[in-house]
Symmetry: C2
Subunit: 138 residues, 2 copies
DNA sequence: AAAAAAATGCAACTTTGTTGCAAAGATACC
DNA sequence: GGTATCTTTGCAACAAAGTTGCATTTTTTT
């Protein structure tokens, strides 16, 4: 695990620091998406708020994590699949938000459906967020 | 127009106040979704920030407007279709965000595709946000 | 037109996010 | 392994976004 973490950071040319290791570990351990707030809560050692913001930004830039759109003004982040490279996210899976437990998860096995747009529109990216009851809460 | 506004407020059992009339008018005039910030900007008379928050909340509760999920931590609101009733939103159209002009619009004519979830999951609602270039910017 | 109910504005506060800068830490080089 | 260089961190100070309680004003009811 520790090796995998260092490996990921190295591969993305990020210096290996305690904060980055810890936050990346959180993502690897968690199977649901994390908001900034969740991260600060779950980390026992206290890192400055600013550090967490900058770490998430760095991970985003490198394509290690991606954001999940929400309707409640909280950005959620989740690990990208291996083939997301620096600056080019191509996560084509859908996201699921459980109304009971609140968890947001990536359903990697479910691909986004194709959408037919009206004349004149050009689609770059399609985001699908399904809400309902997850496996555990159903 | 003025009649329609009063009509909508009355139908939803909201008292008819200047702020509500003005904000509702904004939504009716605008064909793109509005963020809290946009509303404060576009209104010439100044209403208190708190009033705008509470008005949006009231409109949400009554099913007059709905939120559109975004990945950039800004809640956008748009008018619901007529058949959204108090507490029961059922807007099954997709949303489009233009990367050029930034406008967010409801594509009422495009219905959300059906999504097949893994065993055990139960879907209540499917949100689709497509980003790319809109008719004007393309 | 007066009484009752609801909405507004204000102040004070909390939470969330940003920026510049000095100190601490990581990397590269000898 | 130790030092120079470059990067990251934490702090302070700030800006923006959102919330709450309460007195005043406005709307609705009778």
């Amino acid at each position: 695990m520790k090796k995998q973490i260092v490996e990921i950071l190295r591969k993305n040319q990020l210096s290996i620091t305690d904060g980055r290791k810890k936050i990346l570990e959180l993502f690897l351990e968690s199977d649901s998406a994390l908001a900034h707030h969740d991260i600060e809560e779950k980390i026992q050692e206290k890192f400055d708020r600013v550090t967490v913001y900058r770490t998430l930004q760095a991970f985003m830039d490198k394509g290690i994590i991606h954001t999940i759109p929400t309707a409640d003004n909280s950005i959620k982040y989740a690990l990208c699949k291996d083939d997301c490279e620096q600056g080019h996210h191509h996560d084509d899976h859908i996201h699921f938000v459980c109304k009971q437990c609140g968890q947001t998860i990536c359903l990697d096995e479910v691909h986004v459906p194709s959408v037919r747009l009206p004349q004149g529109y050009h689609a770059d990216q399609v985001e699908v967020v399904v809400s309902g009851l997850c496996k555990e809460c159903n």
